[in-house]
């Protein structure tokens, strides 16, 4: 894309180099997310996973590009559709799957489930089930870094539906007013549950909204891993160099239902099939094959590894213990016994 101020989707300036190790890493991560979530869906039907389960299948390129562009020092604030973000961030698949099971060996000791994956050590600050609820938190993490002159940025991921919430507006204004290093990354999958973008946004080009806060903004084709990687890197660089926020809209699509409860009355099979033609994994694999970066055998192997990693994650989750009921009130407060 031309400059971060350019609202329209445009090809990245610098083509992203992909040598075999990079291709392996990125495709491997996308495949891991895909297989992991396909398995999670099965396990939901099997009753091993309960409550809400939101899959990001179709949106893997955004997870890989966005989280991949960060350093360990950076902070990540995510949503309830965060398995991919967590996995790319390095939260062990087993800990994520165990969290989905609600087991004590889960990343949040099983208390949060699918919507509340936390990993403080990896600066992965959840896993928030209140739409747009994470944006103020991200502003605060960035404010702390600014006040301590800590050299790090905060990546805040949210969906297109979150853009309608007042907290989007308040948070972007605050971050820009105070010049805080926040990458506001909108995963625009064109639906907020069953409400299409055009039915919840008067201005459907989300990247145009940054101007109201003097925030440099851009949009990118979120199904194209290389374009998205280039756009995110450029955005991250700008946040680091300017110190102020950037808004990046990644245009993508959710191949599965919103959650396991969703009968998908609001969109047609045709529409979904159209988008599946642009499956980020298929596109990236095609590119790799075309350029002969990896062999067919290597591609096979990557898929096998993703399936095996998923199976190991499930085994880890199965082997986990349930947190004892006696610990129910533990950690409501730092000091026991809980008060009142």
């Amino acid at each position: 894309m031309a400059t971060l101020d350019a609202p329209a989707v445009s090809p990245p300036q610098a083509a992203v180099a992909i040598d075999p190790p990079t291709a392996r890493a990125w495709l491997g991560q996308m495949l891991l997310i895909r297989r992991f979530e396909e398995k999670a869906a099965e396990l939901y039907s099997a009753g091993k996973i309960r409550g809400f389960l939101h899959l990001s299948i179709g949106e893997e390129a955004v997870s890989v590009a966005a989280i991949g562009a960060l350093t360990e020092r950076d902070n990540v604030v995510s949503t309830y559709r965060e398995h991919g973000h967590a996995l790319v961030r390095g939260v062990p698949p087993g800990a994520v799957m165990a969290e989905l099971f609600g087991k004590a060996n889960g990343s949040s000791r099983g208390r949060g489930g699918s919507m509340h994956i936390f990993d403080a050590g990896r600066r992965f600050y959840g896993g928030n089930a209140i739409v747009a609820g994470g944006l103020p938190l991200a502003v605060g993490l960035a404010l702390a870094d600014r006040l301590r002159q800590r050299d790090a940025i905060t990546a805040c991921l949210f969906g297109d539906g979150a853009v309608a919430e007042g907290e989007f507006h308040e948070s972007l204004n605050l971050a820009s007013l105070w010049r805080l290093p926040v990458l506001f990354l909108c995963e625009n999958n064109y639906y907020a549950m069953g409400t299409a973008l055009g039915r919840h946004q008067a201005e459907t080009d989300i990247s145009l909204k940054g101007a109201a806060y003097r925030i440099p903004s851009a949009a990118v084709d979120g199904m194209d891993l290389l374009a998205t990687t280039a756009a995110v890197r450029q955005a991250v660089d700008q946040v680091r160099s300017d110190g102020g926020p950037v808004l990046l809209e990644c245009r993508t699509y959710r191949f599965r239902a919103h959650s396991m409860y969703d009968p998908e009355l609001y969109r047609s099979k045709e529409e979904i099939d159209q988008w599946k033609l642009r499956d980020p994994i298929t596109l990236f694999r095609a590119r790799i094959e075309r350029d002969g970066i990896l062999t067919g055998a290597e591609l096979e192997a990557l898929d096998r590894e993703a399936r095996e990693a998923t199976d190991r994650a499930v085994a880890f989750a199965e082997a986990g213990e349930w947190e004892p009921v006696a610990d129910l009130l533990k950690d409501v407060y730092a000091r026991e016994p809980p008060c009142a």
Binding site: F52, G110, E165, H200, V325
Partner: protein
């Protein structure tokens, strides 16, 4: 006729939309999606997008817009998907909906109905399992009801729409699939009166919404042991039907209040204190409360179950107040 709580509410919505052109339904995903709990499924097709209106994720704005439309003479039914998200609209409720009539010296009316799902039990964890209807019951200027049966789900809405003041309807999310008998008329009970769901004589169990069934289950178990518990379904949380509550307690001399909210500052506290104030000398034991543990509701089933009121806990509390030594210890 038998139908689910969900179907009962949908029938009420369909009737209201058909009967009064001033009525419209708006909220997140009430249209194309069919409602997060499928309550409004099919209504968009029948009444069109003007009257079954999908909103953006803007709780404060669309609740406030409902208030404005009501002030202008419409009869909006606003669906806030769940009570958890209603916090984002609470300013509009407390500072606008509840104040306009009084603060304007009686010039304005806000004939608004707001519906929302409440409660836990679906393993949706800490941010999606609140039971905050007790907070709404604290607010002068609004009225609050909680249908516990399919019949009430069917008939409370039309009554609420006849009210000239804002009425909040709390629908416990666990009740939607529950089947029940629904009469073809509202029946004799006014909107703001409590119902005795099970007559008894030994103690009174007081509950609302999703806890009524649990109270009845505990009552069954007590009955098998020869104890006749009366079960009062509050139905209305604001106003509270003191007459029905106190009459029952004065007759049974013992009471347990069940409330899925966290114990401290729960509506159960209000009911317990009202009983203490008005029926003190009729009580043979302190009023007991069975509420949720004071913890963000965890995701795993065993921990969620442990955090919420359950029939066993209600049974134990009932046994507690029936002990001659009741209340000698905390």
């Amino acid at each position: 006729m038998r139908m689910t709580y969900r179907e009962a509410m949908r029938t009420a919505l369909r009737e209201a939309l058909a009967a009064d052109p001033r009525v419209f339904l708006m909220g997140e995903d009430v249209g194309r999606y069919g409602g997060a709990y499928a309550v409004s499924k099919g209504l968009l097709e029948q009444f069109g997008p003007d009257r079954v209106r999908d909103t953006p994720l803007s709780e404060s704005a669309f609740v406030g817009a409902g208030i404005g439309a009501a002030v202008a003479g419409m009869r909006p039914i606003v669906e806030v998907m769940t009570v958890n998200f209603s916090l984002l609209a609470l300013d509009q409720v407390v500072n606008t909906a509840a104040t306009l009539r009084h603060m304007s010296g009686g010039q304005l009316s806000v004939p608004l109905v707001v519906r929302m799902a409440t409660g836990a039990g679906r393993q949706v964890a800490a941010q999606h399992s609140h039971s905050l209807e007790g907070w709404y019951a604290h607010i002068p200027g609004i009225k609050v009801v909680a249908p516990a049966t399919a019949h009430d789900a069917r008939w409370m809405l039309p009554a609420a729409l006849r009210e000239p003041d804002p009425v909040f309807i709390f629908e416990h999310a666990m009740l939607y699939p529950e089947e029940g008998e629904v009469g073809d008329a509202p029946g004799p009970l006014p909107l703001f009166r409590a119902a005795i769901r099970r007559p008894g004589r030994d103690l009174t169990l007081i509950a609302h919404g999703g806890s009524v069934g649990k109270a009845l289950a505990a009552a069954e178990r007590l009955a098998r042991e020869g104890i006749e518990a009366e079960v009062v379904d509050l139905r209305s949380l604001r106003p509270l039907d003191d007459a029905t509550i106190l009459e029952s307690v004065r007759r049974c001399h013992r009471a347990v209040v069940i409330d899925e909210a966290w114990r401290t500052g729960s509506l159960a506290a209000e009911i317990s204190s009202r009983i203490g104030e008005a029926a003190f000398f009729d009580l043979d034991a302190p009023v007991a409360r069975v509420c949720s543990a004071e913890v963000p509701i965890p995701y795993p089933k065993h921990l969620e179950d442990a955090a919420l009121p359950q029939p066993d806990g209600i049974y134990a509390a009932a046994r507690g107040v029936l002990k001659p030594t009741a209340g000698v210890t905390v």
